[in-house]
Symmetry: C2
Subunit: 391 residues, 2 copies
Amino acid sequence: MKIIDIRETAIPLNSTLRNAVFDFSQMKTSIVAVITDVIIEGKPVVGYAFNSTGRYACGAQMRMRFIPRILSADPDSLIDKERNNFDPGKILSVMMQGEKPGGHSDRSVGIGTIEVAIWDAIAKIEEKPAFRSIEERYNPGGAKPKMFVYVGGGWYAPGKGTPELLEEMQGYLDMGYTQLKMKVGGASISEDMKRLEAVLNLVDHDGWNLAVDANCGLSRQGAFDYAKALEPYKLRWYEEPTDPLDFQLMSEIADIYHAPLATGENLFSVQDVQNLIRFGGLRPNHDVLQIDPPQSYGFGSVTQTIKMLNTHGWTANSIMPHGGNQMSLHIAAGLGMLLCESYPNTFGMFSGFADDAEVIDGYIELDETMPGIGFEGQSELFTIMSNLSNE
Amino acid sequence: MKIIDIRETAIPLNSTLRNAVFDFSQMKTSIVAVITDVIIEGKPVVGYAFNSTGRYACGAQMRMRFIPRILSADPDSLIDKERNNFDPGKILSVMMQGEKPGGHSDRSVGIGTIEVAIWDAIAKIEEKPAFRSIEERYNPGGAKPKMFVYVGGGWYAPGKGTPELLEEMQGYLDMGYTQLKMKVGGASISEDMKRLEAVLNLVDHDGWNLAVDANCGLSRQGAFDYAKALEPYKLRWYEEPTDPLDFQLMSEIADIYHAPLATGENLFSVQDVQNLIRFGGLRPNHDVLQIDPPQSYGFGSVTQTIKMLNTHGWTANSIMPHGGNQMSLHIAAGLGMLLCESYPNTFGMFSGFADDAEVIDGYIELDETMPGIGFEGQSELFTIMSNLSNE
């Protein structure tokens, strides 16, 4: 059993959206295919993944460093002999050969994307949906096959006023979602509060159904001003007010903001998350940790993060994986996380779940019959993936 | 005045060395040429830099993201009008367009290398050595044109015993250096202490003339064990015992280890260094901060780090730039840092200073007559640089 080839192609995100900090118009995303010599129903098993959203394609690093390390390793050294399958931990170690400590984001996106594609292959070899392969190894009996999903939306756009914002948000409710998130910090605080109150009207005035996201765009003072303005609404969470690495400022915000805070999508290693937990003043079973699995070394690293979190009194039930896609849906369901993101239509084919996925009262039921992560159920994305592998 | 082109080429480091964590044999380094339309003595001014050592070449990121942003910007928007020269801060801001907060090392190496090459051009336009251009802007009257340099050596190599180690170290003393550093953690603690005592004999038994570097390779327990074993020798410093981002563990080590500690080469942003200062338990005017300028957004970012450090009671006199090369020599001299590294012969042409540089009693005198960073004085390296620019 061995990996025959690993291929990458970079596809434009084709998004015109912007948040408080930057726009996505020049961004490309890496799609990866891991081709194995395992044959099921007459065809080789291929694992797929993409590098989520918000970080650039990284095919050069893959081709220069991570892919040759895997392909030149002894194939037997990459096998989980007990399960007769690929061993994602051993493959991760091989990808890390020749890498210096620290400086994670230079490699964690490329390595994580390959690692997640390997999980897709592993689950296909087991002929199970990926969340069941994950559950079996790390969370026996604890999967959540019915997963709560909320929508990250409420984007700024040129010429977009409150009516257009409400139209966007109503659209999500019409799709079956019950919890929404909107951007703040891209307008004045008074304008943002008007936008917020308008959306709160839409979600029955219940702050629990609405989160806000500042995308790290606020100054120190701005972060406190928003905290004070947002506090009365008891929102679901207040996300990434400032620099994601300024753990002390986060703890100062947590001192005055009592509803949940959320952060983590811009941390790329277990050690970074541990620093957040140690120094960021966040509260277990209250605040929300948002990790992007393919951007931070993959699924295996998420399980290491949870192990570390457990020693600090946190559980998987405080984690929401960043990135609304099949990968985050499966890791969330497999490890029994709090909830999952969704970005319907936002990032084109890199948004959303299987084409036939239905959201009912905010929940998605995972497909127990489709092996792997389930990209095969996303026709537009899977066309590119299968062109890449020729399978 | 404008930048006409920015070119990159990746050159193998050609090093067979290893430290406690990894070997350098597969590593390439990015060389950058920034070609301007400023003509001096009939030729266009070209700025050069390379991405130091220990991190991989990153030409793909430069070509996909940073270089097109500079070349497509309005040239006037990149100028320091007061000085009639390029403005490195404005060029840095342009390179950061479309980049998400956090996740620094994915871009800080590529951006920092281009930024340092721009400083080379700036100083050439001013017809001054780079350290004088830096001094003038950030440290008036505070440059150290005579800079203390120590040698980072004492490497492990297959078959290398104590006699060969002593031969290596004696070679540095013969070159005029007085302070040395050796690797620890790649052998057993008892073997390492024997190596250490042998080298201490060579430097007149004075611990102040010897530092040790564990390259993040020790376990938690190993870090404490080495701290206890090293403490009696009152060494110059004990560098990077463990994970460079485990600030709490560093503070626990600082609690029991009273001679200087050193770290920082694996931090890539001002915010990371601030976290180290806030949470790492390090002691101003005692411990040593080691930042790699071309790997962490360039010279301008170093000045921001020093501004931040000042608010915590630290000064430039606690900093030693990582990387023994002309770039670190000029930023160290310009900002009046504690000392500078040197790696004679270690990383081939990416090691060392001008071919005619002389070390006398541990000091190098910077050349006041050569404009820029002075790569023109390194014949082997400059051959590749000038081939890249065709100038």
